[in-house]
Amino acid sequence: MKDIREDIAWAKINQDVLKSLENPRKLYWVILFVAIAMLGVALGCEVYQYNVGMGVSNMDNPHMWGLYIASFIFWIGMSHSGTLLSAILHLMHADWRKPIYRFAEAMTTFSLMTAGLFVAVHLGRVWQIYYALPYPNERGAWPNFQSPLLWDAMAIFTYLSSSIIFLYVGMIPDLAICRDRMHEGWRKKLYTLLSLGWEGTDRQWRNFRVTYLTVACFLIPLAVSVHSIVASDFGMSQQPGWHITSFPPYFVAGALYSGCAAIITLFIILRYVFRFEEYMTLPILKKIVRLTFAIAMVWTYLNAVEFASVWYSHDQASKDVLIQKASGTYAPFWWGMIFCGSVVPLTLAFKRIQTNIPVLFAVSLLLNLGMWLERWMIVAPTFSHGIYPWTWDHDQWPSFVQWGMVFGSFGWFTLLFMVFCKVFPSVSMYEVKEMVYHRSQESKRLEETGKFAAAGKGAH
């Protein structure tokens, strides 16, 4: 189990990472093609739905929301891991985040973009979406600021723009490297433009450090607020199964959970596809896995809290919804969620699994499936068993259009992510340098003071 070598040459870091930007392997093209094909499916579905009407999704009264909203939450949730790795761990000076935070941050951005698409897909009249934007207009009419959906829009806009900015700002020194190392061509022009003339001067670094830290500080509460607001889409309503006080922390925990699971998946894929074995090392993976395990347990706990508070409350309608989740039409999916979300992560407690890449890959996919099911199980059962008995237990199954759109969203995400990986360095070069520099300094210091052995950190 090798961690990053402390004596690795900085030039090699540049070389290795920059190599990933060029000459894609065949596998890359295969993945890209599959992603585009998946996106094509979604586009086809959307064209059909746009032309014919929302009814083709099989939604109905009372099943007003379906997989679109569930997937929306799923993708929003996924975005939280990037913030976790780049902002929270940054503040905590956990240096192992450095080789992996860039792609996590990119994941944040792209999953937010995917989530945003679901809002559009969900709307009955997407061509009028601008009505929901608070911009001064001739009509003099404003959107309804009381609506949690508007908070959502606002929060997502803030989060997306802040994430892009954070990603970009953090990437400027790397872009400068690219600018310096790339051959002439469109890439060089792009990097020259984007690197804003970064030269690594002391003044730039000084301001950079403060800025990066400040934005990180903003991002943490922002990330928490975003998913709390998504939770309030449900929590603010009066519907049984939604009107639950513990929803905001539950959603945030779920978000971090699915994000971490996604990071594991992408970690493994990137490590393999771009041959980043040297940077995305197993000790780092192990740390993420442990983090995931911890969050899984938090999520499980919050889930239990939700059930308990419903169960011991006098809100019979909510109780009915819970019973119906566990025994009604949705029971297989609900139990699937419990299994994937609470049982499967228990395997992560085993040390051998923590570094077993094939198993971890499978587990991470299962966790993501569980988290997707969780979102669906939040949205759908309340509709089929709301307060009003006349509409109870009306069965509804999402049509191929809904499934196609969900399927395609993964393609869209993959497409964006794959393109990103080829255009921008998916490992932060300057930070890996910092990391190995500080580590070597540290070990040197320890060696000098003769405490090397005592520290017991034979990272090699």
Binding site: R125, D320, I387, P389, W390, D393, D395
Partner: protein, 732 residues
């Protein structure tokens, strides 16, 4: 009116599309446009026609035979909505769903537009002149006996004209057929009260005991009875009326009853006699005759618990006056007349005759009184057709190919007639068999008079007048057609009448003195008549003459259960589809059956207990087999039906009649036995025995109620209180 040389119809012209635009897609045109849409105004206008403001015309509803008066809202020459005319004593401004769907009859896209002549398997469009010539040619050399005219209920001037036409042909063969007519009850009433249909004063009764009379749903004059029912529920001095409904399959009325008593099908008469016995107030031969009907026996034979019989008797005894009604479920047997007689006897015993069963008025023009339809007429027509007696068959407002029981084989017999003419609105099953199909104007385009069979207060003649110009220009009024045909033989006599309108107008205006307009000049009278839409008359009242008699009353013991066909088929009457005449009106198709909330389809109601026995669950496609044939439909578990019976609603299962009717559901009449009431010869609707078997297929029942069934578990949605606690006198 203006003397501009335009006749009234010109003002009914549809104004151009955009006088006040109907926004077909309110979300389509989203910007300000200049010069894209066309505005069309009237060439000539009258004062009361203002674009954007509705004009109301009074007319009459022709959706069923109850004779409600309507108030049609017309905008820019298009009729938009039918509302009740408050001046009518029958509906007092109210309308049922069926009546309101009249506009969909009018605007139905499947209406016939041109006269059609059969040409092999298909219809060939011909001109009216050619059609008339053809009829005249076919009638040549055919004797009056060989001509048959089948119609639904006709009344008023149309009936007169039709009578004249038939007499001009020398035919006496006018068959008036109505599939769901209360023929047996009429006959029993005639015996018991001296009139076929007395006035039932529900609002005066303190207790209504109804044996299967669905007076809130589809029986006789439901809108009128519904209003009476509302008053009856409010009661007199806060004494709320009590409704007890005895029937094997819950009807809408049963669903509103304080006590719904499921009874073994066909034993209604026994229960009636049992109640008379339990009342113990009968004397003389009645008392003697009912002596045998003690509680134990009645309970055993009818399946009604003895406690119920006691309670019913007690409440009837305590609260007077009451009212006992005999309706559909009681009369549909071979011994239907006996059942009805026994039930009517109860009214006599309780002393309700003269109190809640009152004499009804009739219009003083007997020639205009409705020709009441029944099913016995169908039988004799069918027999005649089977013998090949008729060479020419006219058909108007009846669809026997659809409604006649399968056992009659009406379609085959009809083919034996040489030349069949159908006057029809739609290409329905019967019109499909005709050789010549003549398209009719809708009731909202036509002139006419209507005399309701059931008069609410006094007597009235309803006026039908056009609310707008013809949707399809080549359709004609049935009156115009008859007039044209009459002119073929009696041109001289009718030469003064250019069209039916002229005939009608002169007929009414000539009698204006008798119609309450003696002081007015002709135009004033005519205008007032059209404005009001109703001519109210004092009417002649035939006193109730019948008396309580039990002689000849013989009730058979309940039928043994047939091993092969163990279940009784109840073809139930849906409140909006009735006999299937209006199935093609989409509002009615989409309007859920009140008890099952099923739409756009047929279903079989079966008691959950029986269903469990047979292993049937909701949505199972079952095959219902009688001696005649079998039908397949979905099962619906319905607690409001006797376990020995199943029920399939009438009205669906059309094989023709256009896009909204064809291919939906099944027609239970197809498997109906031709059993007739022994006294009246009326078709016994409930005498078909069937067996039910699963086919193994299952569907999701298309219904409005929740999949789990209509139960409120915890939240209070629909509340209920008992009369102990309420004080209706304090209510507004």
């Amino acid at each position: 009116m203006m003397d501009s040389g335009f006749d009234r119809r010109d003002f009914l012209k549809v104004m151009g599309w955009s006088g006040a635009a109907v926004a077909l897609s309110g979300c389509g045109n989203t910007s300000i446009e200049d010069g894209k849409e066309t505005l069309v105004s009237y060439v000539e206008a009258v004062d009361y026609q203002i674009p954007g403001v509705g004009v109301y015309y009074n007319s009459s509803c022709a959706q069923c035979d109850a004779g409600c008066s309507i108030n049609g809202k017309v905008r820019e020459g298009r009729v938009l909505k039918l509302e009740g005319n408050p001046a009518s004593a029958i509906n007092r401004g109210k309308m049922c769903g069926l009546g309101q769907a009249g506009v969909q009859h009018h605007y139905n896209p499947d209406r016939l537009r041109e006269p059609l002549l059969r040409n092999g398997g298909s219809g060939e469009t011909i001109t009216w002149e050619k059609a008339y010539a053809l009829i005249s040619e076919k009638l040549k050399g055919v004797s009056g006996e060989e001509i048959a005219f089948l119609s639904g209920v006709v009344s008023g001037h149309l009936k007169v004209l039709l009578g004249n036409y038939l007499s001009s042909l020398g035919s006496k063969n006018h068959f008036v057929y109505e599939a769901l007519a209360p023929g047996v009850v009429r006959a029993a009433n005639k015996k018991a009260y001296g009139v076929e249909m007395p006035r039932y004063n529900i609002s005066k009764a303190k207790v209504v005991l109804s044996f299967g009379a669905d007076f809130l749903g589809a029986w006789v004059s439901p809108v009128h009875f519904s209003q009476q029912y509302a008053q009856f529920r409010k009661g007199v001095d806060g004494q709320r009326g009590v409704l007890i409904q005895v029937e094997p399959k819950m009807t809408l009325t049963g669903a509103n009853a304080d006590r719904w008593v499921p009874i073994r099908p066909g034993t209604e008469g026994i229960l009636a006699l049992g109640i008379i016995n339990a009342l113990g107030i009968a004397t003389g031969d009645i008392a003697a005759a009912v002596k045998g009907y003690d509680k134990a026996r009645v309970s055993k034979e009818t399946g009604v618990p003895p406690g119920h019989i006691d309670k019913i008797a007690a409440i009837l005894k305590l609260r007077s006056p009451s009212l006992v009604l005999a309706g559909g479920a009681a009369e549909g047997y071979a011994h239907g007349s006996q059942n009805a007689a026994a039930i009517n006897l109860l009214n006599h015993v309780l002393g309700n005759v003269g109190k809640t069963v009152e004499a009804s008025a009739a219009v003083p023009f007997p020639q205009m009184a409705p020709a009441k339809g029944n099913t016995a007429a169908l039988k004799s027509l069918n027999d005649g057709l089977a013998e090949g007696k008729y060479k020419v068959l006219f058909n108007y407002a009846a669809n026997p190919v659809f409604t006649a029981p399968g056992a009659m084989k009406f379609k085959d017999n009809m083919a034996k007639a040489g030349f069949k003419v159908a006057f029809a609105h739609y290409m329905d099953e019967t019109a499909l068999q005709a050789d010549l199909v003549l398209p009719l104007e809708s009731a909202l385009e036509d002139w006419g008079t209507q005399v309701p069979e059931y008069m609410a207060e006094g007597a009235q003649i309803n006026i039908l007048q056009p609310l707008m110009e013809n949707v399809h220009p080549n359709t004609r009024s049935i009156g115009d057609i008859l007039l044209a045909l009459l002119k073929q033989s009696r041109a001289e006599e009718y030469k003064n009448y250019e069209d039916f309108y002229a005939y009608l107008r002169s007929a009414l205006v000539q009698n204006k003195a008798a119609l309450g307009g003696h002081a007015m000049d002709e135009d004033a009278f005519w205008n007032e008549t059209l404005t009001k839409g109703i001519i109210k008359l004092v009417g002649t009242t035939a006193a109730l003459s019948g008396k309580a008699g039990i002689s000849g009353l013989k009730l058979p013991a309940p039928a043994e259960i047939d091993e092969q066909y163990p279940l009784q088929l109840i073809p139930s009457v849906n409140i909006s589809l009735r006999d299937g005449r209006h199935t093609n009106q989409p509002w009615l198709q989409e309007s859920p059956d009140p008890l099952t909330t099923i739409v756009w389809d047929s279903w079989m109601e079966i008691h959950p207990k029986k269903a469990a026995e047979l292993g049937i669950v909701e949505g199972d496609i079952v095959e219902i087999t009688s001696r005649i044939g079998s039908i397949k439909t979905q099962a619906y578990l319905f607690p409001g039906i006797h376990p020995d019976a199943i029920s399939v609603p009438i009205g669906q299962g059309h094989e023709a009649m256009g896009r909204y009717a064809k291919g939906y559901g099944v027609n239970p009449l197809k498997i109906m036995d031709a059993v007739f009431d022994r006294e009246t010869g009326e078709l016994a609707m409930h005498e078909t025995r069937v067996k039910v078997s699963k086919t193994g297929q299952r569907v999701i029942v298309v219904k409005d109620e929740s999949a789990a069934g209509a139960k409120q578990i915890r939240e209070k949605i629909a509340g209920r209180v008992y009369t102990d606690n309420v004080d209706l006198t304090k209510e507004v």
